[in-house]
């Protein structure tokens, strides 16, 4: 309701003030541009490129981070070895790595996926590590008393038990991955939604620019929804438990 009201204010405010229109065009015009760009296929190809980079970066990061997180969480020796490095790199804003990546990998897909992986690893790694480290001793001992080897304990006990923590990390990384892809595309890309948005801004084409912004937001929204659905399905066993706790 409030949202609709704001949109209406935007629409009329923009139409009534010619000065505003160059950088805040009417909503209706933005949607018209959006429709034209989508139909012409131009925006869709940028979308696909961004999506592809996102998926590569996010999935690669998730795989690396979950495995590394479990190892660092479970094996105290490994953890103490890497602790200093992690605590040092962790607070660094991941976008700062983009120029470094450009230097090392040039501009293009490899660089963009690389920075996405770098940024997306952190939330999953930290959350996974935390989850594993805080698992109940009794739970691990239960796995051990059944004479399971380490690999089986990690796969059958540690991984499922830490799953809620891992999922939290994955959810955070989802947003971060999209942010990094878009940012990297803006800074040093020649294709993709991030590039498109910046490019349209430079060409003073604000309608198209906003159209791009809307599309990337929609992408983020859809990805988030899909994640929540997937999480609901995978973590079915928790839902009832949490529901009971909240009573």
């Amino acid at each position: 309701m409030l949202f609709a009201l704001l949109l209406l204010m935007w629409e009329f405010g923009s139409r009534l003030s010619p000065a505003l229109q160059s950088y805040l065009p009417p909503v209706s015009r933005i949607f018209r541009s959006l429709a034209e760009l989508v139909i012409s296929g131009q925006l869709v190809s940028h979308l696909m490129i961004t999506l592809s980079r996102f998926l590569q970066g996010y999935l690669l990061a998730a795989s690396i981070a979950v495995i590394l997180g479990i190892v660092l969480g479970y094996f105290r020796l490994a953890h103490s070895l890497f602790e200093a490095v992690i605590e040092f790199l962790r607070p660094m804003p991941s976008v700062a790595i983009i120029p470094v990546a450009v230097l090392l990998l040039g501009i293009g897909d490899a660089m963009i996926v690389a920075v996405t992986v770098y940024a997306s690893v952190w939330p999953v790694l930290i959350n996974t590590m935390d989850g594993v480290r805080h698992l109940e001793r009794t739970l691990i001992d239960t796995g051990r008393t059944f004479a399971l080897n380490r690999r089986k304990i990690l796969w059958l006990v540690v991984l499922p038990a830490a799953a809620p923590y891992i999922v939290t990390g994955l959810r955070i990384s989802l947003s971060i991955a999209l942010i990094l892809v878009t940012t990297a595309e803006m800074i040093a890309g020649s294709r993709g939604l991030g590039f498109f948005i910046l490019d349209q801004e430079r060409s003073m084409n604000s309608s198209n620019m906003y159209a791009g912004v809307i599309l990337v937001s929609a992408l983020g929204y859809v990805l988030n929804r899909l994640f929540v659905l997937g999480e609901g399905w995978a973590m079915q066993w928790r839902r009832g438990m949490l529901a009971q706790e909240s009573v």
Binding site: E136, D141, R144, F146, A147, W237, G240
Partner: protein, 259 residues
Amino acid sequence: MPLLEVQNLSKTYRQMGGDTTVAIGEISCKIEPGEFVSFVGPSGCGKTTLLMSIAGLIAPSAGQVIIHGKEVSGPPPNLVLVFQDFNKSLFAWRSVLGNVRFGLEARGHRWRQGEDKARSLIDLVGLKGFEDHYPWELSGGMQQRVAIARALAYEPEVLLMDEPFGSLDALTRLELEDTVLQLWEELRTTILFITHDIEEAVYLSDRILLLSQRPSRIIEELPIDFARPRNQVITRSQPRFMEIRNCIYQRIRNESALS
């Protein structure tokens, strides 16, 4: 040859400040196959440490545990420990059936194979109909039954139980005592049972080993020869039952007074 032998076992814990606590002073005992043996002792006397050492989950400071002639150095493959804290031991992400299946999977059964066996065990512990429930949906007593069924699905030769009914209410405890006896009669597993409930030990066991205060050692061994199957009313109302119980109680009180 006894199935299981504890030889001069001792365990010392090192604390943060450099202090040491001698949990187990020196314990030696022999367990024959099929026996139901209880360890009884005052709180903090190292009963859990003892069981964890036998289970290979803790390394002793001195002495050894021998099973089938082989020294234990890590969880042996024919033994399972049922923990006191079933809440922290059961797998929240698996249903009752899934938890029991875990015991079979650990045994090496392929996924589909063990379903019938799992279901019959669930029935045996009195949880028929709850196969698809999750642990959080069950009462404490039911959860412990699941833990027991899961342990039995592994087909262990030796079942260790660490105060399994300690956190349950009195009535549930009596129920589960009988459930364990039934299972034991049927499966003839060797059971090592820890409890601080003297009467429970007398009711269940073939033999009771009394532990002293920390640093613990075995101060007495009592054979219990009431007729089996035991009965909550008949067995417990025998005069000899109370005699034994009082004797144990006195012994433990004297031990506590000494320290």
